[in-house]
């Protein structure tokens, strides 16, 4: 059947099961937009800034596991996507991004709104395409979805010149994919899996380090089976949060720079690390040469290039976690590790990192604690980057898989606004709370209009300390409290701002009002925002300074009776 390039794009997206597109039009991509009314199955959400489209597609992908879709025009449209694409690349988020490009004849001439989009996005995509033939569109879109969503997922960008969108060609959607250079290894090597089982049996003090890969693979039951069968404590990385229930008796929480002291200490004391779908990020290892030196390491990951990249590994296994763990679980012998678990319990008592000090002041930790209670640990929590993100990771008790949505590797402030929008679109039946910083929120808050316009019911908790809080904390700890360029002396009135956008706006500066405000926001039928005016100079504890080992751990000063508890 003859179709225009634009019709081919829409038809191909429908064949790939797409229902929502986040985007913003412009000259080069206009032919594609003008075709949208022919395809009512495709819901388009018009954002206010392309960064919002990219973050929303990312948030959508994180809660659904399906590729998120973002559209933008050439030049500034494409460059505005960059932060969002880089965020998705760092956290392995499946996304298919379609950008318009100037007409073929104009490419390379510095035409109006021309940017070398494939060149710019080359190092921040899993793969990208510049489509030079209309008839290639179906094959390329099919490949893009395949590459984005299989193996280690990631963003794929398809850049299409305007005249390629306008031209007609024969549409034939391929049944199969032929990418000879892309064949992810799914089944782990049997001999290595057997070796892993043996090493686990030999271990007296094993810990599991569960990462984002558990979520991508959907290996929740398999992780739980491994942990319970051999009684192995489970530590979750930042992006591994919600891969294992926080209220499980074997859950030890998050390790690393702002992780639980007892989790970091358990890694230090372990004789075996079982690293599952994680990549030994520097926020976990600190000083790699001093990281977990007493332990052997089993590393299971679908990406061979992650194995041995940062930390030497004794038993490497390349494969899909669900499949590898199923085989491993059959071979793993039941064990109790009673002494080891008692040791970790003692660490938990001696280093109560979840401690919130009693005070009348409004502490961010307390707000997250109350939010966790009000939502029974079942909301989708979307965060930005900084102190509020760490407090959310520490103090929210996640019960369900795929409910913690946060910019991890890239650390993109501002993610919390559009990321939450995408998450709510992807999971409309879940309560979605954006835990925002006042700094990040102001980077991307234009998308509040998109949410009101499209009735996307996100609740915002702004942890407002009038500072770029994490940077301020570093200045306090490492630069003698020299607060250079971190204080906002004149933040907008967030309540009036919410009202101006057509949302419910509430302000809380008193501890007793936290729960009533959360409840009021949740019972309100529509997007709502709470401006929590918190202690300005509150610090995130514990902290292991960048590049340091567990021996440099800084814990929150606390009264004696708590230590003795």
């Amino acid at each position: 059947m003859k179709m225009t390039g634009s019709q081919m794009v829409c038809e191909s997206l429908i064949r790939e099961g797409v229902d929502v597109i986040f985007g913003l039009p412009g000259g080069a991509i206009l032919p594609l937009y003008q075709t949208l009314p022919e395809f009512p199955q495709l819901r388009h959400i018009l954002v206010r800034h392309e960064q919002g489209a990219a973050h929303a597609a990312d948030g959508y992908a994180r809660v659904t596991g399906r590729p998120g879709i973002a559209w933008a025009t050439s030049g500034p449209g494409a460059t505005n996507l960059i932060t969002g694409i880089a965020t998705a690349q760092m956290d392995s988020i499946p996304m298919v991004v379609v950008t318009g490009q100037v007409a073929r004849a104009a490419i390379g001439s510095d035409a109006f709104q021309e940017t070398d989009t494939t060149g710019i996005t080359l190092p921040i995509t899993k793969h990208n395409y510049l489509v030079m033939d209309t008839e290639e569109i179906p094959r390329i879109i099919k490949e893009a979805f395949h590459i984005a969503s299989t193996g280690r997922p990631g963003p794929v960008l398809v850049d299409i010149p305007k005249d390629v969108l306008q031209e007609e060609a024969e549409f034939e959607y391929p049944d199969s994919i032929d990418v000879p250079g892309y064949k992810p290894t799914l089944e782990g090597h049997p001999a290595q899996i057997k070796r892993a089982a043996r090493v686990i049996a030999e271990s007296e003090r094993p810990v599991i380090l569960a990462g984002h890969g558990i979520i991508f693979s959907g290996a929740y039951d398999e992780l739980r089976e491994l942990a319970e069968k051999a009684q192995i404590p489970v530590i979750t990385t930042l992006l591994g949060i919600s891969s294992f229930p926080d209220d499980h008796v074997l859950c030890v929480g998050m390790p690393g720079m702002h992780g639980m002291a007892y989790a970091s200490k358990a890694i230090e004391d372990a004789d075996l690390l079982i690293a599952l779908g994680m990549r030994f990020d520097d926020r976990i290892t600190g000083k790699p040469s001093a990281f977990a030196i007493r332990s052997r390491k089993i590393h299971i990951d679908i990406d061979p290039s992650e194995i041995g990249k940062n930390i030497p590994v004794d038993v490497p296994i390349v494969g899909d976690l669900k499949r590898v763990l199923r085989k491993l679980n059959k071979m793993v012998k039941p064990a109790t590790h009673l002494e080891w678990i008692q040791h970790i319990d003692r660490l938990k008592r001696e280093h109560p990192s979840m401690y919130i000090r009693p005070t009348d002041k409004l502490l961010p930790q307390f707000i997250i604690n109350q939010l966790s209670k009000a939502t029974e640990g079942r909301a989708v929590i979307v965060t930005g980057v900084g102190q509020h993100q760490m407090w959310a990771a520490q103090h929210y008790m996640f019960k369900d898989p795929q409910t913690f949505v946060s910019s991890g590797g890239s650390g993109a402030m501002g993610y919390e606004v559009a990321g939450a929008m995408g998450a709510k679109v992807g999971a409309p039946d879940r309560v979605v709370w954006s835990v925002a910083g006042d700094g990040g929120f102001q980077m991307t808050m234009a998308e509040l209009a998109t949410m009101v316009e499209n009735r996307i019911n996100v609740k915002f908790a702004i942890i407002n300390n009038s500072f770029l809080g994490m940077v301020r904390q570093w200045q306090e700890f490492f630069y003698q409290k020299s607060y250079v360029a971190t204080q906002y002396t004149h933040n907008p009135d967030f309540v009036k701002l919410a009202e101006a956008f057509g949302m419910l706006g509430l302000r809380v500066s008193d501890k007793t009002q936290v729960m009533p405000a959360i409840e009021q926001a949740m019972s309100y039928d529509g997007p709502a925002l709470i401006d929590f005016v918190v202690e300005e100079e509150e610090n995130v504890y514990p902290m292991i300074p960048a590049g340091q080992s567990i021996h440099s751990l800084i814990e929150e000063p606390r009264p004696e009776e708590v230590v003795a508890r």
């Binding site: 250079g181 892309y182 782990g188 090597h189 290595q192 390349v318």
Partner: protein, 183 residues
């Protein structure tokens, strides 16, 4: 073919898609991750639409392992082989323009003959020597010719191939790190 001093060199070959931008993807990855390439040669392979590249890279074993893994991770790269420890033939072609005159010409020709090189152009005050061989041989000839005055050197970088019947595009092409593949 190793040159003296650190870091050690390894020879890696890759079978890649012959498409626009592939060289850019590869060189961008090497640059971004701070890997060092000593030389790089690209040309058509025995199969249509596929090119073969030979990299001579610098780095210790774990760095080279990372290089091969990241190379293989690129979608347009089909096969990667670290052939350094295998039975290989490696060659480089060089064109060396040397100053010469009536007095020195015959002396240069003698050296060229010893190296089984050729003189491919003669001008009144210079000549061009064509030499092929492994990197050491080309280096040695270059060194000897310096005393006459080397005007310009053009080198292709090393290409390498396994001895015997196997083809690297078919069965024998996997890097031996167990089971690594693309992602």
């Amino acid at each position: 073919m190793m040159t003296n001093g650190s870091p050690p060199r390894r020879t890696i070959t890759a079978l890649v898609q012959d498409k626009p931008g592939v060289l850019n993807r590869i060189s961008s990855m090497f640059r971004r991750r701070g890997f060092n390439i000593a030389s790089l040669a690209v040309g058509h392979s025995e199969e249509a639409d596929l090119s073969r590249m030979t990299f001579v890279v610098e780095g210790d074993d774990s760095t080279v392992e990372q290089m091969t893994k990241h190379l293989h991770k690129l979608i347009d790269v089909i096969r990667v082989s670290d052939i350094s420890d295998q039975n290989i033939v490696s060659r480089e072609l060089a064109l060396i323009k040397v100053k010469s005159n009536v007095q020195t010409r015959s002396e240069i020709m003698q050296i060229v003959n010893v190296f089984r090189a050729h003189i491919v152009d003669v001008a009144p005050d210079s000549l061009i020597v064509e030499v092929s061989g492994n990197e050491d041989k080309v280096d040695s000839l270059h060194e000897l010719l310096k005393s006459f005055g080397v005007v310009e050197v053009m080198r292709t970088g090393t290409i390498a191939i396994n001895r015997g019947a196997g083809s690297r595009s078919k069965r024998a092409g996997r890097v031996d790190w167990g089971e690594a593949s693309s992602v």
